[in-house]
């Protein structure tokens, strides 16, 4: 057991900073994703923009849910707010500057996380999760009932930029989120987050101001989700609450983070890439019942890859080694 965990540390699964292999894999995925628009294939571009969007959402979730250990079921709220900021900018101010939309969305989401974080980050474990779920539902209802924000019918955004512009914007915020995570994981701040996750009482005794760092972590998490939402609004061309607050946008990022490796730098990106590939394959092979197979895949992942795909890199000794590690690291 001791040996297994020492090996796991080398790939950053027991630790927090990731490793060389995870770095190479991330670079490879990002490089592949960068050349997609030059293929001029609308289907692929749409698909991989989705990968980048979910990767960014998942990276955001990973900061609060993975590193800090506060599992949020409501990060979609920041995605929705980001999308709403973009659509409002277009509808009322005829603005379609992506950078402006991203920055504004990030600021609004961070303020929201700051205001909501102080009361609800006092809740522990499942209670925090339930509270975030409530906030997501409530915010969706509020936006649905304010016409200035699009109301129930939403806004249509005329796509003025060329389509790939949004693809590159999504690629850029994904890279920024990934690099930000890498810096956080190596910083004093990152260690405070992991200390809070592992034992909040012990962290406080060591001088970590848990409330402050939890709120900052959630703000960063919110900014990533909002940035993804604001670009999505322009790319999608139409935003209403059911589109921006979709259940998929809430659940997929969590599953992706778990699939890739919770609390690792590259986990969410790898998870987003692999899960989308699985989803797309199943969808094309079994159009009628693909969700059934998809659900089965998720259950199998939780059972046999509880620490994520990156964890496989650490397993030595073939099948026997895999079984032994599984026994030692069953969740």
């Amino acid at each position: 057991m001791a040996k297994t965990s020492a090996v796991l540390r080398k790939v950053g699964m027991g630790g927090i900073t990731g490793n060389r292999y995870a770095f190479y894999i991330s670079c490879a995925i990002l490089a592949v994703l960068l050349v997609v628009p030059s293929l001029h294939n609308g289907y692929l571009e749409n698909l991989f923009r989705g990968v980048l969007m979910f990767a960014t959402l998942s990276l955001g979730w990973n900061i609060i849910g993975g590193y800090t250990g506060y599992v949020s079921f409501g990060n979609v709220v920041f995605f929705g707010v980001g999308a709403t900021v973009s659509s409002v900018l277009w509808q009322h101010y005829q603005q379609q500057n992506i950078v402006l939309a991203i920055v504004l969305a990030a600021i609004v989401a961070a303020l929201m996380a700051l205001i909501l974080g102080f009361p609800i980050l006092r809740l522990k474990g499942h209670y925090f999760g339930i509270a975030t779920l409530g906030i997501a539902l409530a915010t969706q209802e509020i936006i649905s009932n304010i016409d200035w924000l699009g109301g129930g019918s939403g806004f249509t955004i005329r796509q003025a930029g060329f389509f790939s512009e949004y693809y590159y914007a999504m690629w850029a915020i994904c890279v920024i989120s990934l690099v930000a995570t890498w810096f956080i994981a190596r910083s004093k701040f990152g260690y405070a987050l992991v200390a809070i996750r592992e034992n909040e009482e012990a962290a406080a005794i060591l001088g970590v101001d848990a409330t402050k760092y939890k709120v900052i972590a959630w703000m960063i998490s919110a900014m990533m989700a909002a940035a993804a939402g604001s670009v999505f609004a322009f790319a999608n061309g139409f935003i209403d609450p059911p589109t921006s607050f979709a259940v998929d946008n809430n659940v997929f990022p969590i599953v992706m983070a778990i699939l890739g490796g919770v609390g690792t730098v590259a986990g969410p990106l790898v998870g987003a890439f692999v899960l989308t590939a699985i989803n797309e394959t199943l969808w094309s092979k079994f159009p009628q019942i693909h969700t059934l197979f998809f659900g089965a895949v998720i259950v199998l992942v939780v059972l046999f890859l509880p620490r994520g795909i990156l964890w496989l890199l650490a397993v030595r000794g073939g099948f026997r080694g895999f079984i032994n590690s599984l026994k030692a690291y069953r969740v």
């Binding site: 057991m1 020492a6 260690y191 405070a192 005794i205 060591l206 001088g207 848990a210």
Partner: protein, 268 residues
């Protein structure tokens, strides 16, 4: 000169009076042993001193401040550090990272970079004898090593006062001797210690003074060998009947002694 002063501290949990009007002082550089039977309020006292609990009566004064007024994460910035009886390692971090977190956020933490925190962590691991397992995950440590890790994490806060809550429970004889050496080493570096321990051998050999709690009240205070001979303390630990027998035994011994003096050579 009072350094750390506990003033009439009371702590009530619902119907349970865990601490009742306890007062004592701790001198700078001393080693205070806090002893008492199970459930006498020792760990509660540790929690009050370290700011985890706010006392329901009285106060703890340190460095001109009342501990209850300071937020839990700021207590270490005043110079008070503690270990937990039930160890609380950050399981997924390495031993070195565990200690580094203390060095990053403790009293001197704001002055240290990440790199410097890890250097400080390495120094402390050498002091407590954990340098050999610095890269292991904390969850892989043996029980004695986890206790050492608790001490190293507390020392990483650069404390003036260190509270050790049963760091020797569950250790074997050799490990206890090592732990006693460690306590002496730490004290020699100028750190004032408050030790909660069931193991009398350890308390007797390192303490400069002892406070005895029973059912939340302070029943004795003084030099270690005086305190353990006091009938009150024996009663608290071993029950009234044993204390009475002990006193009768003492009486008989004294009479025998007297008889010897009166009739020299009678037993020769």
């Amino acid at each position: 000169m009072s350094f750390l002063r506990i003033e009439n501290v009371g702590m009530r949990f619902g119907g349970l009076q865990a601490l009742d009007d306890v007062s004592f002082e701790v001198a700078k550089g001393s080693v205070l042993g806090l002893i008492g039977p199970n459930g006498s309020g020792k760990t509660t006292m540790m929690n009050v001193i370290s700011g985890v609990y706010k006392p329901s009566a009285g106060r703890v004064q340190f460095a001109g401040k009342t501990i209850a007024d300071v937020r839990t994460h700021d207590v270490c910035k005043l110079g008070i550090a503690r270990t937990f009886q039930i160890v609380k390692p950050f399981a997924s971090l390495t031993v070195r990272e565990n200690v580094a977190v203390g060095a990053m956020y403790g009293r001197e933490g704001s002055k240290r970079s990440t790199q410097q925190s890890f250097e400080r962590s390495q120094e402390l691991l050498e002091i407590v004898g954990l340098a050999r397992v610095g890269d292991k995950a904390a969850s892989d440590l043996t029980i004695p090593d986890r206790k050492r890790l608790e001490v190293a994490k507390a020392l990483a806060l650069d404390p003036d006062v260190l509270l050790l809550d049963e760091v020797m429970a569950g250790l074997n004889a050799t490990e206890v001797d090592e732990a006693i050496d460690l306590i002496r080493t730490v004290n020699a570096r100028g750190v004032t210690l408050i030790i909660v321990e069931h193991l009398m051998k350890a308390i007797m050999s390192v303490s400069t003074s002892v406070v005895v709690l029973a059912e939340g009240k302070k029943i004795a205070e003084g030099l270690p060998h005086e305190v353990v001979a006091s009938p009150e303390v024996i009663k608290a630990y071993l029950g009234t009947r044993f204390a009475e027998r002990q006193m009768q035994l003492d009486e008989i011994k004294r009479e025998v002694q007297l008889a010897r003096e009166v009739e020299p050579g009678a037993h020769a």
